[in-house]
Symmetry: C2
Subunit: 308 residues, 2 copies
C-alpha cells in the first residue's frame, strides 16, 4: 500500500524516518522551518554518515509555509514546544484534514493530550521510537545503530490503518511494532528521560558518573515514585523494581554509562530543553491530581535556571 | 581581664579573631594543621591585606599536635567536618579541661549538638559572626569590611564569663553582642546559607542571577518552609515573610547580588563543601522529627554529586 506522509520536523529522527519511508516507495515529504536546511537537501539531497562512510539520497523536503497538500499521515517530530503551532499551521494549510492520521513520535509527556485538542481519537496515533540519530548541520545527519517504532492508537484500537502502517514501517525496515499499551510505553521511556536527562544535565555528568555517586538511588527513588504515582493516574502501568534494575544496568560502560543524555547536549549547546515535557509535565499532572511532586518541581526549575 | 584563648583553625576568620584578640592584649594562640601556614606565620608574622595595603603582625601560632597548654576559651573555627576530631584532640592534649569554655563560631547547624557530646552545657558557647575575611595562602589573609560577633550560652544563661567575654570582644573591636536567642540567630544565618549556597553552587550562578529567574520564589519557598519547620522543632523562632523579604533584598547589586556564596567557591576550587552542616543537617533533623525534607535531601545530594 502507498500512502502520502508528511514528516513534520526534518531533524535527525525526522530525516531517518522520512528517508526510510521514501526508500520503501512511500509518497513522503519532509517539512521544516529552517530554509537553509530545506535548500541544502533540495539541491544536494540528504547527506547520510554511517560508520565513517557518506552517501547522499534524494528526499522531498519543503518549508512548512510552502506546503498545502492533504496527506494520509502526519508524523510529528518537531521540538516538543513547537508541536502545537505546527499542528495548527498544517490544519490551516489543509495538510491535516479530517481524514488525516496524526502520529506523535516525540519524546516526553502530554503529546496525546495536545493532539486531542485538535484531532479525533480515531485519527490519533502515539509512537515511541528507539532509533538513534544525529543531526550534523544543514542537509547532513548521522544514522547508525538499530531501533524500532512501537505505536498504537491513543484509545488502543487496532484498526486497518494501524495494521497497514505497521506493514509500511516494516517494509521500510523501521521495525514497526503495534503496541498493546502505548501509553505505558510512552511513560516508561519518559521515566528514564525524566530521571537521567534532568540529573545529568544539572550535575554535568555522564549516566555512569551519576550512578557512581554512592547515594544515587536516594536521588532516583523518590523521583521515580513521583513519576510512577502520577503516571498511574494517567493510565500507565509502571513497575518500580523493574525500572530501578534497568537504571542500574544503564550505568555500565557497555550500555549507556559513557553517554550524556540529550538534555545535557541541549544545555551545552545553548538550546532550550524539553524539560517542561518531562518532569515539568509530571509536576503539572501532579497538581491536577493533587499529588505532591517536589522532586519534579525542583528539577524542572533547576534545568530552567541552567538553560542559557 | 586577661584570658588564655586558643583559636582552633587559623583560616581567614580564625586569623581575624586571633589577631584582634592578640592586639587587644589577650593571651592568644592560633592552632592549625597546615605546617607551611604555621611556619610562615611563625617566621614572618601574619600578612594582612586591607584595601591594597599590606601589613605584617606577630601572632602566636602552633600546629594542633604541638600544643598542650590548658586555656580558658577555645574558639572553634575549623572546617565543620574537622571539628569533632579537633575537639577530641584538644581534650586529649589537655588544652580543653573541665574549666575551659568552648565556643563554636562555625557556620552551619549541629555544632551545639556536637559540643554537648563532650562539653557541659555551662561551658558551651555558640556564636554567629558576620565579619568577612579571605584567605590568600600560607601566612596571608585579606581583612576588610566590618561585622560583629553575636554569641551566648547554649542554654541562654548570661553568667559572668559571658559578660566578660563580651567586654573582651568589644575591647578587641570585634563588636561583641550577647544574644538573647543564639539558637534563632544560628538558624537565621543557616537559612540564608541553606538556600543560596546550595542553589547558587548547583546552578553556577551569582545570588542576583539566581534571583533573576522568574520562578526563583517557587524554588525558595518550599525549601524555606522545610528549614523553618525543622528549625522550630529545634527551638528557633523563624519568620517566613521577613526572611523572604530579606532574600529579595539580597538580589540587588548593592547588597550581595554580584557575589557567589562560599559554597560556589568551594566547588570551583575542588574543596569538599559544608553542605552536610546546612541542608544535610536539616534533612537529618527532619528524619528525627518525622518531617519530610525533599528539597533539603535533593539539594544535599546534588551538591555532593558536583563536589570534585
Amino acid at each position: 500500500m502507498k500512502i502520502a506522509v508528511a514528516v513534520a520536523g526534518a531533524g535527525a529522527m525526522g530525516s531517518r524516518v522520512g528517508l526510510y519511508l521514501t526508500q520503501a516507495g512511500q509518497d513522503v515529504v519532509l517539512l521544516d522551518d529552517w530554509q537553509m536546511h530545506v535548500d541544502t537537501v533540495t539541491e544536494h539531497g540528504l547527506k547520510v554518515n554511517t560508520l565513517g562512510e557518506t552517501e547522499t539520497y534524494p528526499v522531498s523536503i519543503r518549508n512548512f509555509k510552502d506546503y498545502s497538500v492533504p496527506v494520509d499521515l502526519v508524523i510529528v517530530l518537531t521540538k516538543a514546544m513547537a508541536a502545537e503551532e505546527k499542528i495548527k499551521q498544517l490544519m490551516d494549510q489543509g495538510v491535516i484534514t479530517e481524514d488525516t492520521n496524526v502520529m506523535s513520535m516525540m519524546n516526553g509527556l502530554g503529546h496525546g493530550d495536545l493532539l486531542r485538542k485538535y484531532i479525533a481519537d480515531d485519527k490519533i496515533l502515539l509512537a515511541v521510537t528507539m532509533w538513534p540519530a544525529g543531526f550534523n548541520g544543514p542537509g547532513e545527519v548521522t544514522l547508525e545503530g538499530t531501533g524500532n517504532i512501537e505505536f498504537g492508537r491513543i484509545d488502543g484500537t487496532v484498526d486497518n490503518f494501524v495494521k497497514e502502517l505497521n506493514d509500511i514501517f516494516n517494509e521500510a525496515k523501521l521495525n514497526g511494532k503495534i503496541s498493546d499499551d502505548i501509553v505505558t510505553s510512552i511513560w516508561n521511556k519518559a521515566l528514564v528521560n525524566c530521571c537521567f536527562n534532568t540529573y545529568c544535565a544539572v550535575t554535568d555528568k555522564k549516566i555512569g558518573e551519576f550512578g557512581a555517586y554512592v547515594h544515587s538511588d536516594d536521588m532516583l527513588i523518590p523521583l521515580m515514585k513521583e513519576i510512577i504515582t502520577v503516571g498511574e493516574q494517567k493510565g500507565a502501568k509502571l513497575d518500580f523494581d523493574a525500572t530501578l534494575n534497568k537504571f542500574h544496568a544503564m550505568y555500565s560502560p557497555d550500555v549507556v554509562g559513557l553517554h550524556y543524555p540529550s538534555m545535557h547536549h541541549d544545555i551545552h549547546n545553548g538550546r532550550k530543553t524539553e524539560v517542561d515535557f518531562l518532569t515539568g509535565r509530571v509536576a503539572e499532572y501532579g497538581r491536577e491530581f493533587g499529588i505532591p511532586t517536589p522532586y519534579c518541581d525542583i528539577l524542572t526549575h533547576l534545568v530552567h535556571q541552567i538553560e542559557k
